[in-house]
Symmetry: C2
Subunit: 144 residues, 2 copies
Amino acid sequence: MFFLKDLPSEDMIAGVTVNVPEVSSPRVLSVLTKLRAASVLLRDVEAYLRGHGLSQTQFLALMMIMREPERSSLSAVEIAARLDVSKPVLSKALASLADKGLIAPAASQPADRRQKQLSLTPEGEQRFADVLPGYFSILHDADL
Amino acid sequence: MFFLKDLPSEDMIAGVTVNVPEVSSPRVLSVLTKLRAASVLLRDVEAYLRGHGLSQTQFLALMMIMREPERSSLSAVEIAARLDVSKPVLSKALASLADKGLIAPAASQPADRRQKQLSLTPEGEQRFADVLPGYFSILHDADL
DNA sequence: TCCATATGGTTAGCATGGTAACCATATGGC
DNA sequence: GCCATATGGTTACCATGCTAACCATATGGA
């Protein structure tokens, strides 16, 4: 996260990067401004999801399974690849979702016994449906 | 953090928000795209700072003390207010900076004995000077 | 003066993120 | 067929973020 309320002035950036000619201070300031807006938005989204009993990663994992067009289940590595999150983090998020009864092993499991295919339970689908419109609504109204 | 590699399609967003007329799917997709770019940038910045022995918050705390125009020290609450971070988080970040010898209690302390004014040590100033140009350089080159 | 209240700072406990290391199962070259 | 290697998943451990609760010191009104 990046929560600098008072961004550095253009002068300060320029002063520090005199010897770094490829850096332009208005450009850096613009990036910092967007970075702050994105961080604030992320904080808001996390608060909203937490209010519905989900972390960001848990919610996104549900989304990845839901939106798979041809299938109704995915394995952990497949989800991790789509989310760009490390394996252990996803492992914990999925365990938490299973504890809450929102996902469960899929009916048909692959031959490779190392993998577990995971599907949403009816409760999982309901929760996802409840949360998604508000999620998009927050994004829509974001200052970004 | 927000690390969704495959963003939802406009059609999916539109389908889910049929009953939420104030949400436009191109708008949501644009926000998601920027959110992802910002998250990736934050991850890169954190990796860069970690390579120099600093967390994001530690680095920003140094910046806040350094750029104070009239003074060379700040108290913890003053820093927390400028960073928009909770008190305990800053408390730990400052303790870590002190452990590393990068900050120290300022020479002149206020009458109010609850506060501690904090200044950068010469090592702290050196570290900050070493890190700052590269920091701005990463921001300059960001895809945001 | 004295006590209720506010403020600066830390500690405790929890959730989430990461890397490294570890099992269990597959797979491919010999 | 068998062992080295790769892959799916989990566990262990650490850093960082949060809230709630806790000290210590200030402050203001009865």
